[in-house]
């Protein structure tokens, strides 16, 4: 657990992402990005891309292998597929964050829950809609192939030494946050998770806030 000294009143950008909605933005090298869990236990599916070259992007497997630990928290360096530092987590009042659980999709919902769950809103639908609306502002030909394994801020996916993986009740609560310092200019793609079939959002998706400081 590590608190930040930055004052939300001094943030250069603040945006509340409504429950179940996507968001895209840019964070420049040296700026801080905070994601605030406003009402508690809200998974925030997040991807990062190098702002001027989207072929370079956040890599879950490189990040966890380099720190030899699957959970993300203060001190974690979020690495790219090229092995470069993209952002560093500098404050975290939740404790740990997931990067193995990926994003929910209409198709994976049919597998995980029931065939008739296909019509439910999902993180991949959010990602795809964000790319359709705003993708060309951030990169040419931004598409599904760019949706690699993401971070799930505030989500709890414990793994046991025997290799069992579960989606467990959240460990976040209202007012908890995670804050990162950008080590390069990055494009941020977020889905404020709409999943209703497992405890990742406490069965009640709620808004989160993003804040950026210069």
């Amino acid at each position: 657990m590590m608190e930040s000294s930055l004052d939300p009143g001094n943030a250069s950008h603040r945006h509340v992402i409504a429950a179940g909605e996507p968001w895209m933005g840019t964070v420049l090298a040296g700026q801080h990005l905070r994601i605030l869990d406003l009402e508690g236990n809200q998974a925030v599916d997040t991807l990062f891309y190098r702002a001027d070259m989207l072929e370079e992007r956040y890599s879950a497997v490189d990040t966890i292998r380099a720190q030899r630990n699957i959970y993300l928290t203060t001190g974690t360096v979020l690495l790219s597929n090229e092995g470069n530092a993209m952002l560093t987590i500098v404050a975290d009042t939740c404790g740990r964050h997931d990067t193995l659980g990926g994003a929910c999709s209409a198709e994976s919902n049919t597998v995980r829950y029931a065939l008739d769950k296909r019509s439910m809103h999902s993180c991949r639908d959010n990602f795809l809609l964000a790319l359709a609306r705003w993708g060309t502002q951030y990169g040419k030909d931004f598409s599904k192939r760019d949706l690699s394994s993401n971070i799930n801020f505030f989500m709890n996916v414990p793994v046991t030494p025997a290799g069992k993986l579960t989606f467990a009740d959240g460990i976040s609560s209202a007012g908890r946050y995670v804050e990162m310092r950008a080590d390069m200019d990055v494009t941020v793609l977020i889905s404020n998770c709409p999943q209703l079939n497992n405890p990742c959002n406490a069965y009640n998706p709620t808004p989160v806030e993003v804040m950026i400081w210069d």
Partner: protein, 241 residues
């Protein structure tokens, strides 16, 4: 394949230590990958051959089956809720999919410099460049290189989340059978696992053996492992109707 081999055999091929390979495995065929000398690693990527934007998805595979590793009975899912292939046999017991591959800088730092200029084809290859080599042949690239399956490598996670590599997971002659449920582009590299603590660069030779099998029957153990897989196989069959 030798003359006189059974009619159901398709082909055999040897992957030299550290080499990379790619090919098409059709629905209803099985590929056996054998770690001839033991202690090897095969970093593997899978794509729907007909629509290569559909590919192996590590999170969807793990969360559908509530597992953090792969072994016999596990289905390997694409991002479209379909089963690309399933593991029908496995004498090894644990295959990693959490750790990705090493790049050129990591290999040089760990094993020292070893360039083509001095070593010719004995130079030290790395998984990242090896996979990019094969992907480029199909107009795929960095954007398509996601989490790999690292066959024959065991990495466990402690209660605190720490990763531990287990040497000796794969004995000489260990094999894993992948039965293909779709027409799949298989891309692989036999370079060492990035967490293997061995201080000498020593990739292993891999034997590939392919044969006609058949799609998963109703009572197939991979299909009946869990209700999630029943639905995943159903989704897969819809692709072929």
């Amino acid at each position: 394949m030798a003359d006189g081999a059974p009619y159901w055999m398709l082909w055999e091929e040897t992957v030299r230590p550290g080499a990379h390979w790619s090919g098409l495995l059709r629905r209803g065929s099985t590929l056996r990958i054998t770690d001839v000398a033991g202690g090897g690693n095969v970093s593997t990527l899978l794509y729907n051959y007909e629509d290569r934007s559909e590919r192996y998805n590590m999170p969807d595979t793990l969360k559908a089956q509530h597992t953090a590793f792969l072994t016999r009975g596990v289905a390997l899912y694409s991002d479209m809720g379909r089963v690309l292939c399933s593991i029908t046999d496995d004498t090894c017991g644990w295959h990693d999919t959490l750790c990705g591959v090493a790049n050129a800088a990591m290999v040089q730092e760990k094993f020292g410099p070893s360039r083509f200029q001095e070593r010719r084809n004995e130079y030290y290859r790395n998984g990242y460049d090896s996979l990019l080599n094969e992907l480029g042949k199909y107009d795929l690239g960095k954007r398509d290189l996601g989490p790999t399956v690292n066959l024959f490598s065991k990495v466990t996670v402690s209660d605190a989340g720490d990763l531990e590599f287990h040497p000796g997971n794969s004995q000489p002659g260990a094999y894993v059978d992948l039965r293909f449920e779709m027409n799949v582009l298989v891309v692989l590299s036999s370079t060492p696992h990035p967490l293997d603590p061995a201080t000498a660069y020593s990739p292993r030779e891999m034997q590939l053996t392919a044969w006609h099998s058949r799609p998963a029957p109703r009572n197939d153990p991979c299909r009946t492992r869990c209700p999630e897989n029943e639905r995943g196989f159903r989704n897969t069959e819809f692709w072929f109707r």
